[in-house]
């Protein structure tokens, strides 16, 4: 157990800035073999974390994007009746038509279970599905096995995948679900952290420009009655926009003017609000 853990400790990846706390949590969850549930505002890097774990531990990443109409079975396996029907009609494939197993395709969870290598299984935006889906899925993940009814066969996980689950919603998931997960809420990065993140994306960014951009960004996040606050992604795009504008000078920002406001605020009502408040604060 220990030896296995030592060579599979998570310590961050090339494009992902990881804080110590989160690294610790990931390692604990892996050691306890529990799914890790991540919540937090959009743009705090929940999904990126799974990519980073997979990269740093060199495990294949399997992503299950949850949709609202999704049934659990789709995530486990799929019985490809159409191909079978086709084969039975034309009989020109190498598959044996009477062997149903040849027509079972693994879903994302099934793939993670049957993979020869330990994998990272990312279950993205679990909150989109209804509560039944969530609870049933955790049963499967708990027992690390599921049944294929069509061929009366039980699929057991060869290797227990590292499971990362993300949720966007403010609402809580059901108690049984929470009981089986480790939980972490990724807070919005503070300015220092943000500086690190920005410098990963713009390694040659001017120090002065970086400072004023970030302070402007955090000021804009404080504006009142904004429905969707700008997040990391918006900041990166905004800096990119500023850099590509030949007429732009950092002085503009010091004067309180904010060009390319539309890059930061995506909803038209928010944009109007922000524009008004920016003008007011200058006056």
């Amino acid at each position: 157990m220990l030896s296995e853990k030592n060579n599979s400790r998570f310590g961050g990846a090339s494009k992902y800035i990881l804080d110590d706390e989160l690294a610790k949590i990931v390692n604990v969850s892996m050691a306890l073999e529990m799914p890790l549930l991540l919540k937090g505002e959009p743009g705090t890097g929940k999904t990126m974390l799974a990519h980073a774990i997979a990269e740093s531990l060199q495990m294949p990443l399997i992503v299950l994007n949850v949709k609202s109409s999704m049934k659990l079975i789709e995530a486990l396996y799929q019985y490809d009746t159409l191909t079978r029907l086709n084969d039975s009609r034309f009989g020109d494939s190498k598959r044996n038509v009477s062997d149903i197993e040849a027509y079972i395709k693994m879903g994302k969870i099934g793939q993670a279970f049957t993979a020869d290598k330990k994998t990272v299984l990312l279950i993205d935006e679990i909150d989109k599905a209804d509560t039944d889906f969530q609870d049933d899925m955790l049963d499967v993940l708990d027992q690390m096995q599921f049944d294929i009814i069509e061929i009366d066969k039980t699929i057991r996980a060869k290797n227990r995948p590292v499971i990362v689950i993300t949720s966007n919603a403010k609402k809580d998931l059901s108690d049984p679900f929470l009981g089986r997960c480790n939980f972490h809420h990724i807070a919005f990065p503070d300015p220092d952290m943000m500086r690190l993140i920005v410098s990963v994306h713009f390694p040659k960014l001017d120090e002065e420009l970086m400072k004023i951009c970030i302070s402007t960004f955090y000021r804009l996040r404080e504006l009142r009655s904004i429905e969707k606050k700008p997040a990391t992604r918006e900041l990166i795009n905004w800096i990119r926009a500023l850099k590509s504008d030949p007429d732009f000078k950092p002085k503009t920002l010091y004067q309180g003017r904010v060009p390319f406001l539309g890059v930061l605020f995506k909803k038209s009502a928010d944009l109007q609000q922000a524009a008004q408040q920016v003008i007011k604060s200058r006056g």
């Binding site: 157990m1 939980f183 809420h185």
Partner: protein, 398 residues
């Protein structure tokens, strides 16, 4: 053991379970916790399952580990833990057995008293081991990090702490914004409203109907005939009519806003109108009830399958509801009684409900509530009432 800590969390309203507590012990026994910082993070990720409690956790943690040295659990506390474990055991023997690494079948043969005794002994054994400082949390010598400030018996923090010590982090109260003071009802409303969504086949025909395909293929004497269906999407139309005027609605603004916000994010096809006290010839699409009037008569052109939810306290002066010129606005044209308008809406849209934020036991004191209840089915604007309303709206027969 941190039994005190665990119980303080519990007492302060964080829903912590004995299973998760044992899981924490398990994590410590695996040598995952080397310092108080580790403990802060690990305990939080295992015990606390919502960011709403992070702030409370921070406060308790700071209080607990700064001011108080952790004392060994007393016999009473041990008893309580053992009892909690017994409850847990009854619910899920396998899990607990795994957690403690004991034999389930062996425990099965014991009586509850024996079980408690057994748990108690195990707990004591662990407490004693903890004194030695090598089993539960590696302090005072065996720990690889060897923080000098940790007292082996009591796990107390002394001396200078590092910049990012857990206590300091906890004292920062980074999660204050997420604590429970914020509006909680939104999630519950969402869960209730979500059931209103109804999936209907629209869009491109790109989903294979296996049963029909097989049937048609058989009919075709084995010549394959693939049948496609339209994919399912949510096409439910919802109209929300909100009473946003007058002081009588004032106390309920919060809960109505919550409903409003959630509804607007949840339904693709949602129309929201506002009115004051009751509905006359017009409703308004803007909350100021000025710029965007909508004639009520024109609603007849809408899809009668639209679900109509009216939110209001239904309390007003009776003449506002009953008198042909009852409208309290000067510029309102006389347009028949308001109650007649309401009947019109109820007739046009068979699936309609009235949600009243006023508690239902107060409804009997208001004559207008009584009158409106004869027109619309009325529910309380509470989680319970909302669920009933949704049930009512989804049932097709009226």
């Amino acid at each position: 053991m941190f039994v005190n800590f665990f119980y303080t969390l519990k007492d302060r309203g964080i829903p912590v379970t004995p299973t998760s507590f044992l899981r924490l012990q398990n994590a410590m026994s695996k040598g995952l916790v080397h310092s108080l910082d580790d403990f802060y993070t690990v305990a939080r990720t295992i015990l606390v399952k919502s960011e709403r409690y992070f702030d409370t956790y921070d406060q308790i943690f700071a209080h607990h580990f700064r001011n108080a040295s952790l004392e060994d659990p007393t016999a009473v506390e041990l008893n309580e833990v053992a009892r909690a474990m017994l409850e847990e055991w009854l619910q899920n023997p396998q899990e607990l057995a795994d957690m403690l690494g004991i034999d389930k079948d062996k425990l099965k043969k014991m009586t509850p008293e024996e079980l408690i005794q057994y748990f108690l002994e195990r707990l004591k054994e662990q407490t004693e081991a903890h004194h030695g400082g090598n089993k539960w949390i590696g302090t005072g010598g065996t720990s690889p990090t060897g923080h000098s400030g940790y007292h082996p018996g009591g796990m107390r923090v002394g001396g200078a702490s590092r910049n990012h010590s857990a206590i300091k982090v906890a004292l920062d109260r980074r999660y204050r914004d997420y604590s429970q003071e914020g509006p909680l009802t939104q999630s519950q409303i969402g869960e209730a409203l979500r059931r209103l969504r109804r999936l209907m086949p629209t869009g491109p025909k790109d989903v294979v109907n296996v049963d029909k395909t097989i049937y048609e293929t058989m009919r075709n004497a084995g010549e394959i005939d693939i049948i496609f269906d339209r994919r399912l999407t949510d096409r439910l139309k919802v109209m929300l009519l909100i009473d946003n005027g007058g002081w009588s609605m004032e106390p309920y603004i919060g809960v109505v806003q919550t409903l409003f916000h959630y509804a607007s994010s949840q339904f693709k096809d949602l129309k929201i109108f506002f009115f004051h006290n009751t509905i006359y010839s017009r409703v308004w699409a803007d909350p100021q009830r000025y710029y965007k009037p909508q004639d009520v008569d024109e609603l007849i052109r809408w899809d009668p399958e639209t679900r109509v939810i009216i939110v209001g306290d239904a309390s007003m002066a009776p003449y506002e509801l009953m008198h042909p010129n009852g409208a309290i606005y000067v510029d309102a044209k006389p347009s028949g009684t308001s109650i007649e308008r309401l009947r019109f809406i109820a007739r046009t849209f068979p699936h309609s409900v009235w949600l009243n934020p006023m508690p239902s036991d107060e409804w009997y004191y208001s004559t207008t509530v009584k009158a409106i209840r004869q027109v619309f089915t009325m529910y309380e604007l509470t989680l319970d009432g909302l669920e009933k309303a949704v049930q009512f709206l989804t049932s097709s027969a009226k």
